[in-house]
């Protein structure tokens, strides 16, 4: 099941899609990012959330929600911050790519600027590049 939504107003309008082979939720449940966040906690299997700007490019939401998120059984597995279709570190959400374990701990981060990879960090060590 794939569900599509339009959130935001005016120039902040963006498209959001929720897709998953085992997804069975009523679209009427979701009228905001907060609703989505709540509902996803109760979903089974793999669910992918994608946010796109008015140009159809994957992009973070104006509120900082990542351009792409993947959940498994309601738990966030990986998220990617995007700017105009390219990986881009988020001032609100940190590294462009962040992967989590079953306890919600960050296990991998990758830093990008405009699609160009800066570097990767495992869980241990600094989570922010010293040059930032």
């Amino acid at each position: 099941m794939k569900l599509n939504f339009t959130f935001g107003t005016g120039s902040d309008t963006y498209q959001l899609s929720v897709d998953g082979p085992e997804l069975k939720i009523s679209a009427d449940c979701i009228s905001s990012e907060e609703d989505l966040s709540l509902v996803l906690k109760g979903t089974k299997g793999v669910v992918v959330v994608v946010r796109e700007n008015s140009a159809g490019k994957i992009n973070d939401a104006p509120g900082g929600e990542p351009g792409m998120q993947m959940f498994r059984d309601g738990l966030l597995v990986i998220k990617g911050h995007y700017k105009d279709g390219l990986y881009h570190d988020s001032p609100k959400g940190g590294a462009a790519i962040q992967e989590f374990d079953a306890k919600g701990q960050v296990v991998r981060v990758e830093y990008y600027q405009n699609g160009q990879k800066l570097y990767t960090r495992p869980k241990t060590g600094f989570l922010k590049p010293p040059s930032f």
Partner: protein, 133 residues
């Protein structure tokens, strides 16, 4: 084997305390005791058709048992609740939702509660009030 015997056997094999009622028309109400560390809470599953209930695997307990049960009877569950030791609606210790309601197999309501007080509710049934905890 009747559905009643299957259930009895499944519960007997399983160490998870499960109580509840299965009516002859297949509607059911089951309480499953869950534990997380020292925290004990209850998951309550309400549904409309237990006829297709298959045997459960050995050893599952608490949330694992609940997940297995729901998967077994997918599409016939009407409501899943989590209640704390005082019987009040409350999210599970790992953020599991306190209340989920389904219609025709689709999630139509998801609600987060803490000790009986609603934190956030997302519902497709705008006119339906959250049940009193």
């Amino acid at each position: 084997m009747s559905v009643y015997r299957k259930l009895r056997n499944a519960f007997h094999r399983n160490s998870t305390p499960v109580t509840g009622v299965i009516r002859k028309d297949g509607t059911f109400y089951l309480k499953i005791e869950c534990r997380a560390g020292t925290e004990v809470y209850e998951a309550i599953v309400t549904g409309e058709d237990m006829q297709g209930f298959p045997p459960l695997k050995n050893g599952a307990s608490g949330e694992k048992y609940l997940a297995e049960l729901i998967e077994s009877i997918d599409g016939t569950v009407l409501k899943v609740e989590r209640r704390n030791k005082d019987g009040k609606l409350s999210d599970g210790p790992h953020g599991q939702l306190a209340l989920q309601e389904y219609k025709d197999g689709e999630l139509v309501k998801a609600a987060s509660f803490k000790d009986g007080k609603p934190v956030r509710v997302a519902t497709a049934q705008k006119s339906v009030e959250t049940p009193t905890p």
